[in-house]
């Protein structure tokens, strides 16, 4: 293939290469070892240091479009809270969020059948009002919420009977992919009420959240890499999870990630090389044309 042909390469070949780069490792079950970084260990120990029975607010502010990236980290957070016997309060500010919460409550029912709804976890479902909801529930829960997602009164649920506001939580976890999401929970809840907060974020949003570390944000899981490292840390801390394949979703996804990233790096290098080589050829051609023109003018 000549340089000119390479420069005019139909981009659909790139798409096909990317498809194969992701599909083949998946079909071949390619996996690589992960080692948790210090940032991931901060997330792990923020939950680990909580005594059993502590209250954790889990805001899942994303929709099925981000499930592929954020689903594994939500599941890992929930498993960790269950292993620590923490009390979980689920809420979403996205109208397409309730199925996301349902997936996590199904996980609790399936893997931790000893957990009871209303006593160990409660689902407030979708709450409309974006920032206004956060503002309200942090100061007075009953100003915005009168019952759980099914309409059961707060007074009838042991977990919420004596709860006045979400400011009484011991930890806030937000897994979110936009607005309202982690940034709003940081601005209206964590920073205002000095509430320790962890968040899970898609790769595209993570750089905007890093400036909030280490205060008011205690830790962040960024993209599927963050989820995979956190899962690895969970496996180290709770070896019984090694037998559960569904507790290693992020780790499985890192095989295709690595191959696809190598492909992207190669494509960037090849593209830059082609650009550089073309630019080297261009002045010579231009120079030749100029000298020929000058000679013709002289003649």
């Amino acid at each position: 293939m000549t340089l000119a042909q390479f420069s005019r390469l139909d981009r659909r070949w790139v798409f096909l290469a990317m498809l194969l780069a992701v599909a083949v490792p998946m079909l071949a079950r390619l996996r690589f070892p992960e080692s948790p970084s210090s940032r991931i260990r901060d997330v792990f120990y923020a939950i680990e240091k909580l005594p059993a029975g502590s209250r954790v607010l889990i805001a899942l502010d994303y929709d099925p479009a981000s499930e592929g990236e954020l689903g594994p980290m939500s599941a890992a957070f929930v498993r960790h809270c269950c292993e620590k016997r923490l009390k979980m309060y689920f809420i979403t500010l996205w109208d397409r969020g309730p199925p996301i919460i349902a997936k996590q409550t199904q996980l609790i029912r399936r893997e931790y059948p000893q957990f009871r709804y209303g006593e160990d976890y409660v689902d407030f479902g979708f709450r409309a009002g974006e920032r206004g909801v956060i503002k309200n529930v942090m100061s007075n829960l009953r100003a915005d919420i009168s019952g759980d997602y099914l309409g059961t009164s707060l007074e009838e649920l042991p977990l919420t009977k004596n709860l006045k506001s979400f400011a009484e939580m011991d930890l806030l976890i937000c897994v979110g992919s936009g607005s309202p999401g982690p940034q709003e929970w940081i601005q209206y809840a964590a920073a205002q009420y000095d509430l320790p907060m962890l968040c899970g974020s898609p790769g595209v949003q993570a750089p905007q959240l890093y400036p909030y570390l280490p205060k008011p944000l205690v830790g962040i899981l960024a993209a599927i890499k963050g989820a995979a490292e956190y899962e690895q840390q969970l496996l180290l801390g709770y070896p019984q999870l090694r037998e559960r394949e569904d507790a290693q979703e992020g780790l499985r996804r890192m095989g295709p990630q690595l191959v696809a990233h190598v492909l992207v790096v190669l494509l960037i290098a090849a593209g830059n090389f082609a650009f550089w080589a073309e630019r080297r050829q261009r002045p010579r051609a231009a120079g030749t044309a100029t000298s020929t023109g000058a000679e013709a003018g002289t003649a």
């Binding site: 079909l27 409309a128 206004g132 790769g203 993209a223 990630q257």
Partner: protein, 300 residues
């Protein structure tokens, strides 16, 4: 019909028929459910709930193929392929999938907004008894009407006045109210998290001491943080000409910004690949049964 369109339509239909035949013969692409009876405290069966179960549970009591969920699986798989087809070129299947997503999302948002916003926050507050007897049975008895809720109702009506051919200016008043309210709320909240905390987070010791001397790595990290912030601020200082020392620091600021954008690009690529991997896993695992990472059945 163009010959290429006919060819692609033929290939699409043939592929679909082959997949249906494979599904019928092997069971791939089927969803299974178990019927679970939900009983009251008195032990009476209130209703039956259908829980998804893995294919290997087939044969256990109460486990059957769920036709609606199987159909849903096939529709989502075909819509996934239709969406991917844009990468080859714009076509009617992609447009169909795109329109369906937009339409379903809009409809879902309207219905969810009505039942979670209008009903509990307006209807239940203005007429609690009527709400308890109809849509909100969990509402506490003895709740009295909250007439303050008439104000948001009035604001909503004023907002919708924009649709009227006369008096469109009325909608500007609720809009002004919402903008003022949001600005006030944002100012207070953002000031703490995005201003005060950011400044205090940058006030770091450039030399970090520990028991046995200087903590070199932490010192380097702090110098990098403080230096990067200052150099980027200098880059955005347009009232001074970027020449000499200021110019060199501003160029350093550009470098820091480039590194940030590069990290952002890398993270975005990672995110997009994750989404692609998730869709492919759905196709290979749930639909085609080509892989079985969770050990829920035999791989075909």
């Amino acid at each position: 019909m163009k010959s290429t369109t006919a060819l692609w339509t033929f290939l699409f239909v043939a592929g679909l028929l082959a997949l249906v035949a494979r599904g019928v013969v092997t069971g791939a692409g089927s969803r299974y459910v178990r019927a679970v009876e939900v009983k009251s405290a008195a032990g009476e069966v209130q209703w039956t709930r259908y829980e998804s179960v893995p294919p290997k549970a087939l044969g256990e009591p109460g486990v059957t193929v769920s036709r609606p969920r199987t159909l849903g699986l096939w529709i989502s798989a075909l819509l996934t392929l239709a969406t991917f087809s844009l990468l080859y070129g714009d076509n009617i299947w992609f447009k169909l999938a795109q329109s369906l997503v937009v339409g379903v999302a809009a409809g879902f948002a309207v219905v969810t907004g009505f039942w979670t916003m209008i009903v509990p926050n307006l209807f239940a507050k203005l007429a609690p008894d009527a709400a308890r007897n109809t849509f909100v049975p969990g509402l506490e008895p003895g709740t009295s009407s909250d007439w303050w809720s008439l104000i948001p109702l009035l604001l909503c009506a004023m907002m919708l006045w924009r649709l009227s051919p006369r008096g469109g200016w009325i909608s500007r008043w609720p809009l002004a109210f919402f903008i003022g309210l949001t600005a006030g709320l944002q100012l207070v909240s953002i000031f703490k998290a995005d201003f005060v905390d950011q400044i205090s987070g940058t006030m770091l010791p450039l030399v970090v001491l520990k028991d046995s001397g200087i903590d070199v790595w932490k010192s380097i990290r702090n110098v990098l943080i403080v230096g990067s912030v200052l150099s980027v601020l200098v880059y955005f200082l347009f009232s001074v000409e970027h020449k000499g020392l200021v110019g060199r620091v501003a160029r350093l600021g550009i470098g820091v910004l480039m590194i940030t954008f590069g990290a952002s690009f890398g993270m975005t690529v990672m995110g997009r690949i994750s989404l692609l991997a998730a869709r492919l896993q759905f196709l290979f695992d749930d639909w085609l049964w080509m892989i079985d990472p969770l050990g829920t059945r035999t791989v075909l």
